[in-house]
Amino acid sequence: MSFEIPIGPQHPALKEPISLRMTVEGEVITGADIRLGYNHRGVEKVAEEKNWTQNIYLAERICGICSHSHATCFVQGVEKLMELQPPKRGLYIRYLVSELERVHSHLLWLGVAGHEAGFDSFFMYTWRDREIVMDLLEMITGNRVHYAINAIGGVRRDLDEGQKAKVLEGVATLRKRSVYYFRIGATEPSFVARIAGVGMLSLEQAVALCACGPTARASGWARDVRKEDPYAVYDELDFAVCTADTCDVLGRVVVRVKELLESYNMIEQMIRNLPGGDIACKAPRKAKPGEVVSRYEAPRGENIHYIKANGTDKPERLKVRAPTLGNYPATVEMLRNGFIADIPLIFAAIDPCICCAERTVTLIGARSGEESVVRMSDLRRRALARPENALLKRNAVWPF
């Protein structure tokens, strides 16, 4: 007998309060469906009524976690439209903030993964360390979340010697702690057993469904915009594209952990090689008619902005695609044949922007039509109590 479970839309902590409708057969999910729109704010229409500078701040507020990603992606495109070449120092500072943002976002996600797997001390540890990055970002930009450091033609704030030293010091601390925690994770067999073999997405499926970012890389598909379409400073930096081939939540954790370590390297390289000179050049008020496709590797995957200008100070069209949207078809596939208890873990594994701190799930009995409300914490408890019957669990090893 099959049941249908609606999840959401009350996801208090999600970027997009989303409604998932699962068809389940006993404990096993046989189908999933997605309804978006609870968080649709009509940004693309609003953007047509604002000028280029105002739109930087609008683009920043598309998402609160990858705010710098959207603003940078937009600014990058507008600079191409206006045929501006921002000074090197400005670009270095801009992408330094990008990498710091990636660190903050991945630490946040690791904490959430720990939380959803029932490893709450991991959550508290990583979020404590995340505050180090937040402090660095606040020091550089002046705000904790919406940094607003981008300007058309460069950045707004310069970096001095003391700040450079502090960033290096912060990154050194983070690297030491990260490595230590990941070793703890390695010796914690229950954590590895919980996430191995959950939410499988094979390489063929990932390619067919156009998954992007760490979700695709965890299935062994080495796509990274920074490498294949190197924008601004990325062709001067030395880094590797991190992949995993386990195709499950464990793989997604591994990819993000490796990316964290790569980001620490990149931050150090950028600070050491920071060129002198100006941080911004003067930008015109209007852009010539034209169109541009701007791509950017956000912490969750590829961001793409299509911008069309018509010669005025406002865009004709701004089309935004955030990586999470690109990962939804893949999520539906991952949920299929999973267990109800794995829903929070699988859904969190694409990193739908934030910790699903606590959510409400309504279970509707198909026979009686009665609704009963189950909290996400209960689901998690059930998840922990689940007998070890899944495949691949016994021999799972932490790859570090």
């Binding site: 309804r35 978006l36 729109g37 649709h40 009509g42 693309e44 229409k45 191409k80 390619v207 067919a208 469904l209 156009c210 998954a211 992007c212 796509r223 294949e228 379409d229 034209g290 169109e291 541009v292 496709v293 791509r295 590829e302 793409i304 299509y306 069309k308 004709e316 069209r317 089309k319 695609r321 949207l325 690109g326 939804y328 078809p329 893949a330």
Partner: protein, 156 residues
């Protein structure tokens, strides 16, 4: 493969079915007619490895709608554009070729009112349940009338 070599190869392969522009390094804009869209997409997927669809953008150009399919390969960015008249906006679905296109096709369908022929699942995606039928917010001639806001407790 450099952009110029690739353009030569594409021209030889696809003939006069496409118009190719190359406004920036690593960016190719291909223009095709809606009726050959699925053929061209299939050919590009099989022969050039265009498997990754980033998104589909819709554009309102006044008399026509323009639809741009943003693909990318490790070397280049392919943007396939097609144009349909506004009084009969119909495009074929590419979901059978690229399964990941489904959400983007649903999006242009509700935002612009472009009918996607053969879409496996044409339900609403973004707009709310009580959204009136026949209203397409991203069309240029669509205007939003802002409702009167109330100040709680009255003006002071």
């Amino acid at each position: 493969m450099t952009d110029a070599e690739l353009i030569e190869k594409l021209k030889a392969d696809l003939g006069d079915r496409v118009e190719i522009a190359n406004p920036a390094p690593r960016r190719l804009f291909l223009k095709v007619a809606p009726r050959v869209l699925v053929d061209v997409t299939t050919r590009l997927r099989d022969a050039y490895g265009l498997v990754f669809l980033s998104t589909i953008s819709g554009l309102d150009n006044g008399a026509t709608f323009e639809i741009i399919y943003h693909f990318s390969t490790p070397g280049q960015d392919f943007n396939i554009r097609t144009e349909v008249p506004k009084d009969a906006p119909r495009v074929p679905s590419i979901t059978p070729v690229i399964p990941g296109a489904i959400l983007y096709e649903r999006e242009i369908q509700e935002m612009f009112g472009i009918v996607v022929d053969g879409i496996p699942d044409g339900r609403r995606l973004m707009l709310s349940d009580d959204w009136p039928e026949g209203q397409f917010p991203l069309r240029k001639d669509w205007r939003h009338a802002r409702p009167q806001e109330v100040i709680p407790g009255g003006e002071s």
